[in-house]
């Protein structure tokens, strides 16, 4: 697979003092879904803006679809589709009119524009609503329209900035299906930012976590979760039993044991292998297990470890601009 996005030492300094992005390097292979995660203000949007030609690169270089972003912004714009966080479809126009306008702006005219628009609208199940004004659309419908508005010119890379922001769980998983479909059926490379870690886990082939302008960690979701140190088994024994920390630590594969009264947290790379040995040992010692549970590591834990923040504390991107709030309301409107 060839690399379709490459960034080397990419840096953005605003007004000569605010370093929003600090020498980051990464690459995205063709046909991949690449997730860019990070807390608010970490540098996600600035990075996307540099790749989309909306922000000048202060230092370093980046190329998209084989074109240098600084030297040939026009060629880059021709090969990318951008679905911004904001809902930019025109309220007063119908879904179809919005699509056709977008097609004209990408030099697709007449019949081709109409045909492509209808095809894409039916892909996201908006055929019935195509002739209705966007004003009457629900938040989910707007997001779907927005998604296909970025696809009319058959871009090589699709940039999605928070594609499911403000959507309910059901609508969100529907969006995932569309994005997966575009990636699998059309071989479209997707570069996305998201606040929903389970979304990144389920959609992305590769993930990079950015914080304070630098990439803290990157890899496949499985690789990232391995860095947390594997699964965690939580065991509760009956009160008054002896301290078993040393016993657990002696079992093969166990990495770390912490004890609070009679509750033990055992970290191990693969629960499936070590759990039988743990249970067998306890039975042999004739100890009664009151409760046993194990958890697989999540991206939440990875995120917490590398950024020191939980994604849940973050919630949706914050903004003090009134218009931002209007956008959000639009997104969640029914």
């Amino acid at each position: 697979m060839s690399r379709i996005i490459e960034a080397e030492g990419l840096t953005k300094v605003y007004n000569g003092k605010v370093k929003a992005v600090d020498h980051i390097s990464f690459s995205v292979d063709e046909g991949e879904v690449f997730g860019f995660l990070g807390p608010n203000g970490a540098g996600k949007t600035t990075t996307i803006k540099m790749l989309n030609t909306l922000a000048r690169i202060t230092e370093g270089r980046a190329s998209v679809a084989g074109h240098d972003v600084s030297r040939s912004p026009g060629a880059v714009r021709d090969s990318i589709g951008v679905v911004p966080q904001e809902l930019t479809a025109d309220d007063e126009l119908s879904g179809l009119e919005n699509m056709i306008l977008m097609a004209r702006l990408h030099h697709i005219d007449g019949g081709a524009a109409r045909r492509k628009s209808s095809e894409l609208l039916s892909l996201v199940e908006l055929d019935d609503a195509a002739r209705r004004k966007v004003r009457t659309y629900s938040g989910g419908m707007r997001r779907r329209l927005q998604l296909v508005m970025g696809l009319l010119h058959e871009p090589k890379v699709l940039f999605l900035d928070e594609p499911t922001l403000g959507l309910d769980v059901q609508t969100r998983s529907k969006m995932w299906e569309y994005i997966k479909g575009l990636n699998k059926d059309r071989g479209l490379t997707v570069f996305m930012t998201t606040h929903y870690l389970e979304e990144a886990d389920s959609l992305c082939d590769q993930i990079a976590i950015i914080d304070h302008g630098t990439i803290k960690i990157s890899g496949s979701p499985a690789q990232l979760k391995e860095t947390v140190g594997g699964d965690i088994v939580t065991l509760t024994l009956s009160d008054g039993a002896e301290d078993l920390t040393n016993f657990f630590e002696g079992i093969e594969g166990v990495k770390e044991v912490t004890r609070t009264d009679s509750v033990y947290r055992i970290k191990l790379p693969k629960t499936e292998k070590a759990l039988p040995a743990i249970v067998e040992g306890l039975v042999r010692k004739q100890l009664q297990i009151k409760e046993i549970s194990f958890t697989k590591p999540t991206l939440d834990q990875v995120f917490l470890e590398v950024t020191g923040k939980s994604m849940r504390d973050e919630e949706a991107p914050q903004s003090d601009s009134g218009w931002e709030n209007i956008r959000m309301q639009r997104a969640s409107g029914n």
């Binding site: 803006k49 989309n52 714009r77 004209r104 218009w323």
Partner: protein, 278 residues
Amino acid sequence: MIGETLALTSRALRKWVHNPAAVLPGFFIALFYVALLGSSFNPTKVVPPGTPPQIANSILSQTFGGAPTYITFLTPGVICIILVFNMAFGGIDLVLDRQLGYLGTLLTAPIPRSAIYLSGVFQNLAKVMLLAVLTFLVALAIPNGLQLPGTFNVLDFFGVFLAFGLLGLGLSYIFTALALSVRSIDSLVAIVNFLTLPMTFTSNTFFPLDVFPDWLKSIAELNPITKANEAARLLVINGGLSSAQTTTFLWDIVYLAAFAVALGILGHLAARRALRPE
């Protein structure tokens, strides 16, 4: 580039057509200016009663360039006010486009930056010129309103709107560039408020230049709004022009065309700066 400019302009105008009520505020402002301000001043009353008609007429023709009613004199001025104010505040739509992210979408599409700017210029111009024509028709419909001479023909009508069109184009160039350059509606409104009133008051919009003090007159003579009013009034008051009047009219047009070209160049430079990557 022409294709994209047309696509973007038609998007804006289509939105406008979908919402015809958007023209109402502008229309009412025009109506109030013409019907109320225009009617509030009856020039025949400044002539003392008992003045022989010949002398009275000569006083009146000197005061308002021979206009039979104040509305006839004022209508071109009101059209200029409509042009200046609607053009200036029309930029709010563009600031909104930036704030709502629509401009970002345009900037990541393979569209020449100047198409984005020019579509703003043309949509503003189209909307405001429609209002200008509407104002003219309203003034005509009002009793004792705009009274055109018998010799006024279609060509004169086009002459009037050629002058307004050039003034409008220049204003649209600069106000569109301004709207693309600011980041918030507040700052646009602040700048626009600072510009529009002095622009209007240093022109012959409400009163003829002859009654101006010398210092103000010399400023007002350079104001393109004055030139547009002068050109329009020549036609509206006289109809068929004498050769001296034709020369004045043509010089006004040349002046306005130069104004439009200059602001076009300035506007393009400012817009290019405003639309480059951050």
